[in-house]
């Protein structure tokens, strides 16, 4: 049974809203029940932006992900400080370690640091750090397939973004590879 509750957070421009939408759209394409809810309200320039995404086999009640996130993706330090506590015990915390070097205090969750900015540069689009993080999440929790994300990409960003599809998909794969190695290590340990 799938009941993923994901919170994506970062500063404005890091694409946290976009990866949330891609995830929700891909879930819809796979006939799952999905919701996407942005944070909105007064926020200073450079402040945190975040969205809640639910992907489930059952109709979604509350679309708000607060203290019960199965996964939290944080792209910058203020987001980590704000949402570390939101991961439910046993849940995932994915950290963009390119920008965050603070150690995580919690012992009851799975934590992965991903050098998202560097990996995005490798794909030729530095702005795709968000896609690296999404790829990492898909590899670990996998509520939707990468192919569905590719279909969703065209829907969410429109035809003119199609030339950016391949490097973005590459970013997903790099994110996935970055964490599958780490997970095997943690299981072996």
């Amino acid at each position: 049974m799938i009941n993923e509750r994901i919170l994506c957070a970062g500063f404005g421009g890091q694409g946290v809203m976009s990866i949330g939408q891609l995830l929700a759209y891909a879930g819809m394409l796979e006939d799952k029940h999905v919701t996407w809810l942005p944070s909105y309200g007064p926020e200073m320039r450079g402040g945190t932006a975040y969205c809640s995404v639910v992907v489930s086999d059952k109709p979604v009640g509350s679309p708000i992900v607060t203290g019960n996130a199965t996964c939290v993706i944080v792209m910058n330090l203020p987001s980590l400080l704000k949402f570390e506590a939101s991961v439910k015990p046993g849940g995932l915390l994915l950290i963009n370690s390119s920008l965050i070097d603070k150690p995580v205090d919690r012992q009851d969750i799975e934590v992965y640091g991903i050098l998202a900015n560097e990996l995005a540069v490798k794909c030729g689009i530095p702005r795709a750090a968000n896609m690296v993080m999404l790829g990492a999440y898909l590899a670990l929790a996998g509520p939707v397939r990468i192919e569905s994300i590719a279909l969703a990409f065209k829907k969410v960003f429109g035809a003119k973004a199609e030339r950016l599809l391949d490097p973005n998909i590459q970013a997903l794969h790099l994110g996935a590879e970055a964490v599958t190695g780490l997970r095997q290590q943690s299981i072996a340990a």
Partner: protein, 352 residues
Amino acid sequence: MPKSLMKGNEALALAAIKGGCSHFFGYPITPQNEIPEFLARELPKAGGVFLQAESELAAINMVYGAAATGGRAMTSSSSPGIALMQEGMSSLAAAELPSVIVNVQRGGPGIGTIQPSQADYYQMTRGGGNGDYRILSFAPATVQEGAEMMMAAFDLADFYRTPVFIVSDGMLGQMMEPVEFPERPLRTLPEKSWAAVGHGGSRKPNTIKTLVLDPGLLEQKNLRLQEKFTRIAATESRFENYRTDEAELVLCAYGSTARIVKNSIDLLAEEGIKAGLIRPQTLWPFPSSAFQQLPPTCRTILTVEMSCGQMVDDVRLAVNGRLPVAFYGRSGGIIPVPEEIVAHIKVLLGRV
């Protein structure tokens, strides 16, 4: 047509076009701005008129004008903006002008906040406008349901010659969900022989006004309006039951809050506590009949709202003293989480 992933606000806007909206007048306010944004772009393409008014007062009176000529006019706003439009709504109801008004509720009173709320229940069911009037008021809980209610709204408005409210909130408006737009069933609608349009002198001019100085005539008009409201109340009230069979506690919640309450009910079921939900889909007419069919197991009713307690009045009227009716609410733009409602219910039932 395949499903799209859309914000509640955008889905309402597209549904308005599909429901036959011909004129939109409005003034910007958060959290409903995606509605005029979408319609500014798309309504003219569909042959309609989009006009940003200079104020809410202007917008609602433009709706009056367009509807008076037989147009299918709408506006949308949010709580304080709706407050400004109340005089116009009384006039629309008095003049029996078909129209659709969307309220994407935010926290109040006053200017309040831009965060979600349900504190406009009184405003949407009692009205701040003067006089004896009622307005058919729909309360969707999902983006899909909002689209369906909106697509039907213009037909209902024409059928009854009445304004129709769509009562949303900041959460439903901003969230994205899959939505599809099925073909609208064709409904036979009365001719708008009353419309104030050019006729080349072929008949007496139609006038649409609400001033009736003769007390006898005004009382007759009121009785005729009341007869219509009774007809609407008898035909249009709607509700959904969720897990009410054998429930010892029946909750009542609408819109966004109803979604959250469903989560709470599922959590309680995991602990062996049987709770159910009556979800009004129309706020006026309030689905009182739902409370005539409570399961014999039910000991208590709990109304949950994002307000300090408004719909609970109608629940108490419907229950009429047969069972205790409790209330739980959050306000100020705070959305309750399922777990806090569960905790409150356990205290209420003495199961802590």
